[in-house]
Each structure stands twice: as C-alpha cells, then as structure tokens.
C-alpha cells in the first residue's frame, strides 16, 4: 500500500509538471509576467546609467528567477477551473499535495531554466564570474522552489478567473523587488527600510547570489539558505491547506 502511494505520488507530481509545461509555458500571462517584465525592469534600471553590470548581475539574476518561477503557478488552477478541466484532473489518482507539488515543479523548472540561460548569456557576453558554482546552483534551486511555491500559494484560493489572480500576484510581486536589495543594495538601507527588506524572501536569494558571485553580502549564507527552505515549506503547506478548502470553488 505504502509503495503504491509512493509510486503514484511521485508519478502524479511528474505527470502534473509535464502537463503544466506543455500547456502553460506558452500562455501569454506567463510570457508577459515571467519573461518580459524582468527584462523591462532590467532595461529601465540600467539604460542611461553608469552602473557596473558585474555588481548588479546577481541581483538581476535573482529578480529574473523571482519573476519567472512565480509566474506559472498563479495561472494553472484558475485556468483549469475556467477551462473546465480541473474536475477531471481531480478525478485522477492524485492528492491535493501531488497537484501542488506538480504545479510548483513546473514553475521551478521554468524559473531555473530561464535563469540558467540568462546566466550563460551573462558569462558569454558580459564576462560575469561565479566564485562558487555549487553555492550558485543551490541558491538557484532554492530560489526557484521558494518562488514557484509562492506562485502556487497565490493561486490556491482561486476561483475561475485567471486575470484576477494574475493581478493579485503582480500586486504582491512588484513591491517585493523594490525592498529586496535588487536596485538598492542592502548595505545602503537602514531603519524601517532595512527591517522591511528582511521580511522579503527575495532579499535572502539576492544575498545568496551575491555570496556565490563574490559580491557584497549582508548575512551569513547559512541564514539565506535556511530562510529560503523554511519559507518554501510555509508556502507549500499553506497552499495545500488553502487548496483543500477551495477545491471545488468555481467548478
């Protein structure tokens, strides 16, 4: 019995992730909010200013990972409810936990894939250096899991309106990039602004990326890693609990 559940639990996650990748990666909201927005933010910040790209690249990469990872999750459940495919999906041998992890995995792979591509472009064309590849990969993976989980959490209470959820997710995601040490390094913040920045999980990803790239840091890397793991777990547990309660909402 245990092995049956284990088998179907893991298979369910993999198949759900595959389904999401096939269907949702090409949807307009994912392309706009996941790819174009971080690009526009980068262009708006860097163009016309004498900034060292080396210094800001880890933060820019963290921002890219944040936007891409968190762009898939909010779309899936509302879209499935609107397209009337959610009820059929729930009839399969799945649990809510399986669905949540499958949705998270799709967001994580999207975010990690795009971010690695951006990094490779940075290394190839701008000469970006990474002092610790292992730490960089750990930070990338944890960041992708954390923000994909956040995306799934945003969709958990959803009814059948993808546009409402995408607006809500933008409302939450945008302020985070301004308080997380991306455009203003944490070392330049103080008082309330610094305290607020510590409340954002993105701050810890930016710091971990800076550790990996040999840039300016504010905390011990272990703190960054622990915070990202704990916040990911909180997001996933909350998403599962909320999704269970609102499972048939909008069907």
């Amino acid at each position: 019995m245990r092995s049956l559940i284990d088998t179907y639990f893991l298979r369910g996650i993999a198949v759900t992730a595959e389904k999401n990748m096939r269907i949702y990666y090409r949807k307009a909201p994912v392309v706009i909010f996941g790819l174009l927005f971080p690009l526009f933010m980068f262009v708006a910040f860097f163009i016309g200013r004498e900034l060292e790209i080396d210094l800001f690249f880890p933060a820019f990469l963290a921002m890219t990972l944040f936007f891409t990872s968190s762009s898939v999750g909010p779309l899936i459940t509302p879209w499935e409810k609107q397209a009337r495919t959610f009820e059929r999906l729930l009839s399969y041998p799945l649990t809510v936990g399986t669905l949540i992890l499958g949705d998270m995995a799709a967001g994580m792979l999207f975010g990690a894939g795009i971010s690695v591509l951006v990094l490779l472009l940075g290394v190839a064309f701008v000469g970006i250096g990474i002092s610790s590849v292992v730490l960089f990969l750990v930070a990338l993976l944890l960041g992708a899991i954390c923000f994909a989980s956040m995306g799934v959490l945003l969709a958990a209470p959803a009814s059948s309106s993808p546009s409402n959820i995408m607006m809500l997710s933008s409302l939450i995601r945008f302020p985070l990039i301004f308080i997380s040490g991306i455009f203003i390094p944490l070392g330049e913040l103080e008082g309330l602004r610094l305290a607020v920045s510590y409340a954002s999980p993105l701050t810890y990803l930016v710091d971990a990326m800076n550790h990996a790239a040999g840039g300016p840091t504010s905390m011990h890397v272990a703190v960054d890693i622990v915070v990202l793991i704990v916040v990911s777990a909180i997001f996933l547990i909350a998403a599962t609990a909320i999704q269970k309660r609102s499972l048939t909402k909008g069907l």
Partner: protein
C-alpha cells in the same frame, strides 16, 4: 454478510454547504456489472453526490466504498478503480487527442506501449483516429465528448461514472457513446450514470435512483418507475389566433406553461382535456394549429414522487 457483489456502496451520505443540506442521508448500492441511473432535476444534489462518490468532495457524514475499498481511507487505490466523466469535464484543448490520452494514461501508471495500444484502439472505436494529431480546440462538441469518454476508460476501470454524458450531443455522437457504454458493461464494467433524460435511463439502466432536494425519493427498475409516471401527462397545443391562458383553466388541468407559441397543459385526464380544448377553440373562433399529448417527464415524476401536487390551476409564463 459479504458485499463482494457490490461495486459501489454509498451509506448515509450527507453534504452541507454552510447551512444548506445539498445531500441528505443518501444510501444506495450498485451491483457489479450493473448500469445504474441517478436522476434528478438541476439542483437536486446529483452532481454533489457524484462528486462525493468520486472523492472530489468529502461528505460531512457517511462513507463510500468502491469495489470493497473505502474511498476516504484509501483514496488513491479507490480512484484507480474508477473512470470519471464529469458534467463539465473537458479535455485540454491545447493538446491533441493523443497527448490527452497519453497524459491520462500516465496518471494511471500505464506503460508507454499500453498507452499506444489503447490510444489506437479507443480513437479508432470513437471515430477520432484520423484527427488524433489535431489540437482539441479544433474539435466539435461531440468529438470532445467522445475524447473525454476515451480518457475516462483508457485504464479500463471497474466502475465508470458518467455525469450527463450525452447532454447536448448530436445523434451520431450520442449513439456512439451509448454503444460504447453498453459494450463496456458487457465486458463487466459497472456504470453509474446521471441524466435528465428518462428515456435514456429507461433504455440503458437496470435500476434507477431519483434524487430531489438532496434526498433519495425513489429507487427501482425504470419500468416500475415509469408505470407510476404515467399517471401525470400533458398536452401541447397551439392556437391561431393565440387565446388567453386562463380560458384553459378547467377541470383536470393542474398547471399551464407557455413555451414559444405553444401552451403545455398538465392534466391527469388527457382524453377529457382534449375535448375541452376543442370546445374552447370553437368558442374563441381560434384554429388549433397543433395538438399532441406528451409522455411523462422527469419533472412530472417528481410532482408525484415528492408530493408536489398543487390544488387548482397554476399558470407559468
């Protein structure tokens, strides 16, 4: 006593939405190999019941056992026994028929080879093989419903739940699905079918349960139920020029509905009512454009089964 002969057991199922009791203490069982019809009007509790039977909703009280497996305690194992076609359960329109079937097969743990075999077999039988590589968004409603059916049976379930499977389908698609349902049943699959269509239930089901306002009000063979339905019938009549509805409120007429240019007169004595309709037409100098007696509908069955018989004549516009 052993329940090995039962494919589905629902015991005292109750579901509350806030203070509303959507399903109230529903108990029934379905035998292995049976085609079981579950009938009721909109809002009666059909979909809530089927959602509890398939594990989508957790009942506030009661339990569901599928092929001897408790659904609540062993959700995955019980779901492996089932195939489900939800009322509005469509397939993924961005994917092709083949991709939809492959996805479903993977969820049930079928091997690639088995998925390939079943895909060919099912799409061939359902007339979709030539269009297997096209995105489902290019399919007609009937084709989508056939694909939905294929997805529900790709893993050869022991119990198949169908929620209004032929609603709104063209004759060809409906016939094809009905034939497939019968073929599956011949192979031993238990069918649980919800429908509004009493004739469909009569043609397919060995037993029928009727739910109204969340409670089970009848459970019997279709013919036994139909014989009780026959007590309430209606006449459909159209006049030129149209005459006032209240002039038709006589004797045996319990309710009048208007439908387009026609009026539907509910009566327990069609013979006497026809005579009175002809008399009224003469008095009003109106021509009778059409006049036909209608068979008993599910709604009419409910009037009798739920003690909804109203005194006097009710006019419904």
């Amino acid at each position: 006593m052993s329940n090995d002969h039962l494919a589905l057991e629902a015991s005292h199922l109750t579901k509350l939405f806030g203070t509303l009791k959507a399903v109230d203490d529903v108990t029934f069982s379905v035998q292995r190999g049976e085609i079981f019809g579950f009938l009721g009007p909109n809002g009666a509790g059909k979909t809530t019941t089927i959602r509890m039977l398939t594990g989508l909703l957790t009942p506030n009280e009661g339990r569901v056992i599928v092929n001897g497996i408790d659904l609540h305690d062993h959700m995955i194992k019980a779901k492996m026994q089932m195939g489900v076609i939800p009322e509005v359960g469509t397939t993924y329109v961005d994917l092709t028929a083949e991709q939809n079937l492959a996805l479903t097969g993977k969820y049930y743990g079928l091997s690639r080879e088995r998925i390939r075999e079943r895909t060919k077999e099912l799409l061939g039988a359902l007339g979709l093989y030539e269009r297997r590589g096209d995105p489902v968004r290019t399919y007609s409603k009937g084709m989508r419903q056939r694909l939905s059916f294929a997805c529900a049976i790709i893993h050869e379930p022991n119990v198949l739940f169908l929620d209004e499977p032929t609603e709104g389908l063209d004759v060809q698609s409906r016939r094809l699905l009905v034939d497939m349902i019968l073929e599956l049943n011949m192979k031993g699959c238990t069918i649980f079918l919800t429908t509004h269509n009493i004739e469909e239930a009569n043609a397919l089901c060995q037993r029928v349960a009727i739910i109204n306002k969340g409670r089970l009000v009848a459970l019997d063979r279709p013919e036994a139920l139909r014989s009780s339905f026959e007590k309430t019938q209606s006449l459909e009549v159209s006049f030129d020029p149209r005459i006032a509805t209240d002039t038709l409120c006589f004797g045996h007429v319990s309710k009048i509905e208007t439908s387009g240019d026609k009026m539907i007169l509910y009566t327990d004595d069609p013979h006497a009512t026809i005579k009175q309709v002809v008399d009224v037409a003469q008095q009003e100098h109106a021509r009778i454009l059409s006049l036909r007696t209608r068979g008993p509908s599910l709604e009419e069955a409910f009037i009798m089964l739920t003690d909804d018989k109203r005194p006097g004549c009710e006019i419904v516009d």
